[in-house]
Amino acid sequence: MVQYAWLVPFLPLVAYVFLLVLGRKAAEGLVAGVSVILTAVSFVLSLFIFQAVGNNPHGNNTYVFHWLTVGNRVFDVGFQVTHLNALMLVVVTLVSTLVFLFSKGYMHKDDRFPVFYQYLNLFVFSMLALVISLNLLQLYIFWEMVGLCSYLLVGFWYFKPEAALAAKKSFIVTRIGDTGMFAGIVLLFLATGSFDYSTIFSAVAHGTLHIGWLSNNGVITLTALLIFAGAVGKSAQFPLHVWLPDAMEGPTPVSALIHAATMVAAGVYLVARTFPLFQASTGATTTVAWIGAITALMASLIALTQRDIKRVIAYSTMSQLGYMMMALGVGAYAYGIFHLMTHAFFKALLFLAAGSVIHAVDTQDLFEMGGLRKKMPVTTYTFLAGALALAGIVPFAGFWSKDDILSATLQSGHPVLYWFGLIAAFCTAFYIFRVFFLTFTGKPRVEEKYEHAHEGSWVMKLPLVVLAVFATIAGFFNSPVNHYGLERYLFADFASGTAGVVVKENVGLMAFSVAVGLLGILLAALMYWRPAFGGEKLSKALSIPYIISFRKFFFDEIYTFVIVGGGKVIAAIVDFVDRYIIDGIVSLLSWIGSVFGTMLKYTQDGQVQTYSAIAAFGVLIFIAIAVFTVGGVL
């Protein structure tokens, strides 16, 4: 079964090429149908592969092809299906299928409907190929490809200036991280002579990484940090997080698929995939954990005050990715991945539900919604399931994974990080229910928008329901119910049969974090559902923290001023130097030449007799010199 894993990414590629051939005028039904069916087949295949890998954990899972020779070294391509990869395949294909279905309704009557599906198929292909990459080089290739698809899809409505800017920003900001990752991969290649994970990990285990100018430990820490830079960019972690909220300018299904469930999780996947490398360096793991914790807290604080429904969820995504990073940083390998999986389901759900709302009321401003529960019951209750999962309320999916992470953080001896996570959990519960109450309960704030609000067709409702089911039950995949099956499945990738921290069940901790979540929901309810005290008053009372949160800690302003502004100033200086100094010197030389030429041209007066007189005079001088030389005077 595993040898057919290449089919999983290949089918979306087939769909992409097919749609490309069909062109820009193809019928919507055909386009969406082909995409959904092929991706669904991929999903079924993934399930089989998932099972096959689990049944035969030590079987051959690697397939290699020759790509390029450099000197005496060979770059290979191919694919490899580890347990982690198999899980990712299932998650990505499932969410993709549902998003494809949803988009049929959401993008209905868009001018470029077929193009949208082309890009999405290309993305799904790249993402799946990334997941089963044989080595770091191949991973980097598809890593950039998904970035490209994200760029294309964020800028899908290219005529909107904000979308154009957001697309550019998303590409460039992630490119900064990617450049670090590129360097990390190159250095690993220099140190081990290979891009292969297995070669690198065995070199790490034996401590034989060595570059002429750097020792083993230096190589490990440096490359781990450089690779982490790529993950920071892709997973929108502090300080490269600024692109993700802006990327919400793309169509909402894109946000659900790329900017919630799959591509942004690739950063987490990357750190997990190179886990042994990170484990070998305390500096690297500490960095990962702290960056994750800071992002989790910061993003959840920003999400408290945002008015745009998609941006709240975007910051939520960022925050949850921070949790996953923190988990990997403290060594809770399995729980980071577990959370990645559950998060993919409930966050895709939240985005799609938000998309359903936006589709209905044609606004993204929370304060123009309200009372939609009556008009859109399916959306309301599926959103609620997602919100409960995100808030970590038992027994929804998020509860199990988030609680595992928090417990692992505390049990591995990181109390400060634990509190970071807990505060973030409180904020999370608050902001997502703020969204829920503002959108679905109370009275409509803008009447005419409420009037034409309606539930979407079945293509939009079905994905919501399916995802809601997963958001409810996915937590049980790694729970006492199945003896922590997912954990054991993921650990099979490691020769030792385990990796990092394994959580000991602690009902007290579980109850505590649920209580924190409930507290957040309660506060949200008191402010926005049954206003005991007005949210307005509170935000006025806390005006300074409110503004800081609302303006996103001023990151955009600072970056625009310092980095973009600085770059532009340097560019302007270089341009000035180029035009007026370097080219100025060139012009000066040519000016000097032309001045001399102008001066000498006046000797050319056209009078033959002048010329001859000068010539005669010259001859006289020569004669004089000759005579005096011979005569011994000179």
């Binding site: 006046y602 050319q604 007066d605 056209g606 009078q607 033959v608 007799q609 007189a613 005669a616």
Partner: protein, 108 residues
């Protein structure tokens, strides 16, 4: 060839040549009319001829080659003056002038 019955001193001959050359040079550089310039050039050529003839007397083995060479010079000078006068005529027809200073189309 033996010594001439009334040998003119070499110095006198060379002085004559130099004088003629300077007169010719002066004329060629200063005269306005092209014809006079041409005549002056002839003077310079003749000065050279005198020198050639003079020097042909001297040397370890005096010979006639200098005198023969001066005949060549005269021939070439004749050809040159013919071409020169033809050019002058053509120019005069074209520009209605034979003044040297008017022929300055190569001025900057």
């Amino acid at each position: 060839m033996g010594a001439a019955p009334f040998p003119v001193p070499t110095g006198s001959l060379l002085a004559l040549g130099a004088l003629l050359f300077c007169i010719g040079l002066f004329g060629a550089l200063t005269k306005r009319n092209l014809i006079i310039v041409l005549v002056s050039i002839e003077l310079m050529l003749n000065a050279a001829n005198i020198n050639l003839v003079t020097f042909s007397r001297l040397g370890v083995a005096p010979s006639l080659s200098g005198q023969v060479f001066s005949l060549f010079t005269m021939t070439v000078a004749a050809a040159e003056i013919a071409v020169g006068l033809a050019l002058l005529l053509a120019l005069f027809r074209l520009r209605k002038t034979s003044e040297v200073k008017d022929l300055n189309i190569h001025k900057w």
